[in-house]
């Protein structure tokens, strides 16, 4: 074995990033990460992005990763730097986003001594990430970084936390970075059980009312084209979870809509009546199933998932298939290539339900009143040649997932599992960095917008021209909706305007030039050096997006003043079945 050159841990860290093909790193310096940042100072291969808060930093890396399919890389300091990324890690973990998060740590000799800015990062992160590890010896550094990238991107992707004590960063050691990984406790499933797959195909062949239920797994595996081919051949209705929207293009004739609590009637009814539920890449979250005993009770369930632990966790599964969605769907295509299926009548039945129960918003206050539907449908029409859309969490997210048409070339980023407010804006900044030639738009509420609004500074200084749409209804609207429907209209602490002027909220406020609201989002945008536009009328929506398109040197904030009492429908109350759906 050749005697290799001795380099510092921080230098090996940078070398590892380059070897892993990392072109962008989201970092925020601090005392225990200073050596790593020093090593990055002259590194030309890695573009270091400096957000203004560590939580936003992880969301930006997440948006970058989801929109590019690459691993998002984060670097923060110890203590508060590490605790601030926890929300972002949990967000990525829930939605299976590959991240590698490096955290600075006090020297190993001080660990456990309650040193300045010391926390047990590994202990804190352990339950919300795929894998967390502290590097305790300089000689382990290369191997552990190699393993971290492998674990993050393979199998069911997820965030990995690598805690780097100061002495490991400055310690001298081998310059070698391993080329291979062998982790004895981690062997992701790469094949598929052909016997199970054939059993599933036989069921599909014999089913009278088959339904494909697709989750985020198909998007993550980038199996969209293969899935579209399969759906076209089988001709069965395709319904998706929020994370699965876009698994097949929404303009495909087999596509029905989203299922679940705010899913469209036809999609939920199709599942209720189906005799075969062919599900791929979903974990049957409670937002999808409602009351589990009533869920798909007439159906035999086939479940394809890369994670064995997702199978039969929430619903009983008749035919479990552990496989990556791409591998499974390719095999399904191969085995069904010469088969013919006739689901025309069944598809027509479901499509008819879709026509008779459309998702649409009434114009309660006249034609000119601005509804979220107007905004999102304008986005659909305006960005014909592709767009990345991120959402925040709450009503804005539900409307976006209902109305946004995910066709090819479009991508939807949303915190589906954890439901993290403050996700949308930093995520779209990360997405734009990864996709500089694609328009990038964020849909947020006024509540979530304020949870990471400081990222305007990041986008302004780096000249990142994203469009940040704030749907301002002066409320934490989703909770307000629940209070209206299930808590006797007791709007406990969900109003974000001035408490004493609560009686003036809604219609009256929205008709003014500026809402009775703090902050004034337009002025705030301008103070950061961004552009600000306020839209109060449905006729102004398209012009606002056209105006935003002209701004190439900074982000544009568009504040849409919407009515406070617009709710998300249809809705199936928590724990209820499709029979109990509230249409409007």
């Amino acid at each position: 074995m050749k005697e290799s050159k001795q380099i510092k841990g921080s230098e090996l860290f940078v070398k590892a990033l380059i070897e892993e093909g990392v072109d962008t790193l989201f970092g925020y310096p601090g005392g225990q990460a200073i050596d790593l940042f020093d090593a990055l100072y002259e590194c030309k291969e890695v573009n270091v992005v400096l957000p203004r808060h560590e939580q936003a930093l992880v969301h930006a890396a997440d948006g970058y990763a989801r929109s590019t399919g690459k691993v998002g890389v984060c670097l923060v300091t110890s203590g508060p730097g590490a605790t601030n990324i926890v929300t972002g890690i949990a967000t990525a973990n829930y939605d299976s986003v590959p991240l590698v998060c490096f955290t600075g740590q006090v020297p190993t000799s001080l660990i456990g001594n309650d040193a300045f800015q010391e926390v047990d990062t590994m202990g804190i992160c352990r339950s919300v990430c795929k894998y967390a590890v502290t590097v305790r010896k300089r000689e382990d550094l290369g191997r552990i970084i190699k393993e971290a990238f492998y674990i993050a991107r393979s199998g069911k992707p997820g965030p990995v936390v690598v805690d780097l004590p100061k002495d490991v960063q400055i310690g001298m050691g081998s310059a070698d970075y391993p080329t291979e990984v062998n982790i004895r406790g981690y062997k992701p499933n790469e094949g598929v059980h052909v016997g199970q797959l054939k059993k599933a195909i036989t069921l599909l062949k014999n089913a009278k009312k088959p339904v494909f239920l697709l989750g985020g797994g198909v998007n993550i595996a980038r199996a969209n084209d293969a899935m579209t081919e399969l759906a076209n051949r089988v001709g069965a209705p395709v319904v998706t979870t929020i994370m699965g929207k876009g698994d097949i293009p929404v303009d495909n004739k087999n596509y029905i809509g989203n299922v679940g609590i705010h899913g469209i009637y036809a999609a939920n009814r199709a599942i209720a009546e189906s005799d075969l539920l062919f599900s791929i890449g979903t974990r049957f979250n409670d937002r999808i199933t409602g009351k589990t005993s009533e869920f798909a009770k007439n159906a035999t369930i086939v479940h394809v998932d890369v994670d064995p632990a997702a199978i039969s966790k929430n619903v009983r599964v008749d035919v479990p298939i552990v496989a990556d969605a791409m591998v499974a769907i390719n095999k399904l295509n191969e085995f069904t290539k010469d088969m013919s299926f006739d689901n025309t009548d069944w598809l027509k039945t479901v499509t008819d339900w879709k026509k008779s129960h459309p998702v649409t918003m009434e114009k309660r206050y006249g034609d000119r009143a601005l509804t979220p539907q107007d905004i999102i449908e304008t986005i659909n029409k305006h960005y014909k040649n592709g767009v990345v859309l991120s959402t925040d969490v709450g009503q804005n997210q539900l409307w976006a997932t209902q109305y946004f048409d995910v066709t090819s070339g479009r991508c939807l980023l949303t915190s589906g599992g954890l439901g993290t407010m403050g996700y949308g804006f930093p995520a779209i900044i990360g997405a734009k960095i990864g996709n500089p030639d694609t328009p990038c738009v964020c849909i947020s509420g006024d509540g979530g917008a304020q949870m990471n609004i400081q990222e305007l500074a990041t986008a302004v200084t780096l000249e990142i021209p994203v469009v940040f749409c704030i749907l301002n209804n002066s409320y934490l609207g989703n909770v307000r909706q629940w209070q209206e429907m299930f808590f006797k209209k007791r709007y406990s602490h969900t109003y974000l305007g001035y408490p004493r002027s609560e009686s003036k909220h809604g219609k009256e406020t929205a008709s003014k030039d500026c809402p009775d609201y703090s902050p004034d989002f337009v002025k705030l945008a301008e103070s950061y050096g961004a552009y600000g536009i306020r839209v109060k009328d449905s006729s102004e929506v398209l012009a606002a997006f056209k105006e935003a398109d002209k701004h190439k040197d900074a982000p544009t904030v568009i504040e849409f003043l919407i009515d406070s009492d617009v709710n998300v429908y249809p809705m199936i109350p928590a724990g209820k079945s499709i029979e109990e759906v509230i249409m409007d």
Binding site: M122, G123, R126, S127, K130, Y131, T134, R136, I151, I183, R184, G185, Y186, D307, P308, A309, I311, S312, K313
Partner: protein
Amino acid sequence: MDNNTTKKRWISLFVENQIGCLARISGLFSSKSYNIDSITVGATDDPTVSRMTIGVTSDDMTYEQIKKQLNRSVEVIKVLDYTTIPIHMKELMFIKVNVPAEKDKTEVFRIAKVFGLKITDYDKSSILLESVDTENHNDDIIRLLSESFPNRLEVVRGGSVAIESISITDR
């Protein structure tokens, strides 16, 4: 959920012998609300591998989830289900009995003889007993002694360790 299948189960777990591994495994149980009856851990002949014996009481569905969740942990090398296969399992238990009276001492010695307990230590007022036996047998001993000597016992149990029996064909 079907609770009719609730019963005692045993898992033998091979894990990486690293700082934090026990916390990871026990944390996995607590985060999913699975109750651990007992857990033991120790290094093996390979110093990089630790082995755990975990006892849980659960229904079939939960138990399947527990095994899957353990399997997907990066630190876990192997999960063996010992619930239905022939195994050897023993638990170490110490019982200190406070018995100043001579007739009580005689009774403790008698019990020790009958139940195969080792007298490990002894002085004027106390006897220290050691039992290496199954969990159920140790339960019985505690029950018997607490009936005879209420409030005069001090008990410490080590949790069970288990290993698969040598199969007949290998003998």
